[in-house]
């Protein structure tokens, strides 16, 4: 039975390796069902709304509510 893991969305600039591993079936070959979850568009806040000490980041939001196990910071 495959292991499952959900991670937050990555883009090529910081997650090219993850995207290539997914597309080339490398997670599947390792018995890992890797799922990539994205925040609903209406929940995405722009960093322009934040301040240095109180940033409006989207990273970790899915993990915080149990919808993802990992995210890349």
């Amino acid at each position: 039975m495959a292991m499952t893991m959900t991670i937050e969305r990555v883009m090529a600039f910081m997650g090219l390796d993850v995207l290539v591993a997914r597309d080339e079936g490398l997670f599947e070959a390792e018995g890992l069902d890797l799922r990539i979850a994205a925040l609903p568009p209406d929940e995405i806040r722009s960093a322009a709304e934040g301040t240095p000490s109180k940033p409006a980041t989207n990273q970790g939001k899915l993990q915080a509510r149990g919808a993802a196990q990992m995210f890349q910071a």
Partner: protein, 215 residues
């Protein structure tokens, strides 16, 4: 994955070196690694009280547009927008690299993490063997943005695309990053490696994944 970030000024800027950004408005996407990389590039070139940042959008497309409109003097960009900016005549006055770091919940198993590490290690090897062949991923991320869609694989500077096989987090680097963020008031409290890094899961997963590295 190693992330490249660049401080970029518009074609008409009088700024050619990072110290010339002292007291000039630099748009940073606060809360993201690129913003912290931007801060580090600025503070390496000037006293902290001369660093003048303003809130930039999360989207590098929006920050690039703001730069070209003259909303601020400089911004920090990542690929493929560094390449877009260069094609538009912008100048890079500083570039840097930083590690992307995984943040995991306590329920990630050793076996699942090891599988992730093995798959990523293989992907890194595939990409490093043919970087040019994989730059289309940077373009694919920005479908619908004509500036990116106009890029060709040969436009990319492959020196800015760096991938490293995953490894354990060095404690001294984690401590330095924590202390640096604390010094800017971005994080509070003292660094405690035992609460930040689960060394047992990390070590066992890397040992399980080591067979790939040996192969």
């Amino acid at each position: 994955m190693i992330v490249c970030a660049a401080l970029v000024v518009p074609p008409t800027s009088t700024v050619f070196a990072p110290q010339e950004l002292a007291h000039k408005r630099v748009a940073l996407d606060y809360g993201n690694g690129t913003a912290y990389a931007g801060l580090q590039m600025l503070e390496a070139a000037m006293p902290r009280d001369a660093v003048t940042s303003c809130a930039g959008a999360t989207s590098p497309a929006e920050r690039f547009a703001g730069l070209m409109r003259g909303d601020f003097d400089a911004t920090v960009l990542q690929e493929p927008w560094i390449t877009v900016a260069e094609k538009a005549g912008c100048r890079l006055v500083s570039t840097t690299f930083f590690h992307g770091t995984w943040v995991a919940t306590r329920d990630v198993s050793v076996e699942a993490y090891a599988a992730l590490l093995r798959a990523i290690t293989r992907a890194v090897r595939h990409i490093n063997a043919d970087k040019r062949g994989y730059v289309s991923y940077f373009i694919r991320d920005w479908s619908g943005h004509p500036e990116v869609e106009a890029l060709k694989p040969q436009d990319f500077n492959l020196g800015r695309i760096q991938l490293k096989e995953p490894g354990p987090i060095p404690e001294d680097e984690a401590r330095w990053a924590w202390d640096w963020m604390a010094s800017w008031g971005l994080i509070a409290g003292a660094f405690d490696v035992t609460t930040q890094i689960n060394r047992t899961v990390e070590r066992e997963a890397h040992e399980l994944a080591a067979v790939v590295r040996a192969g």
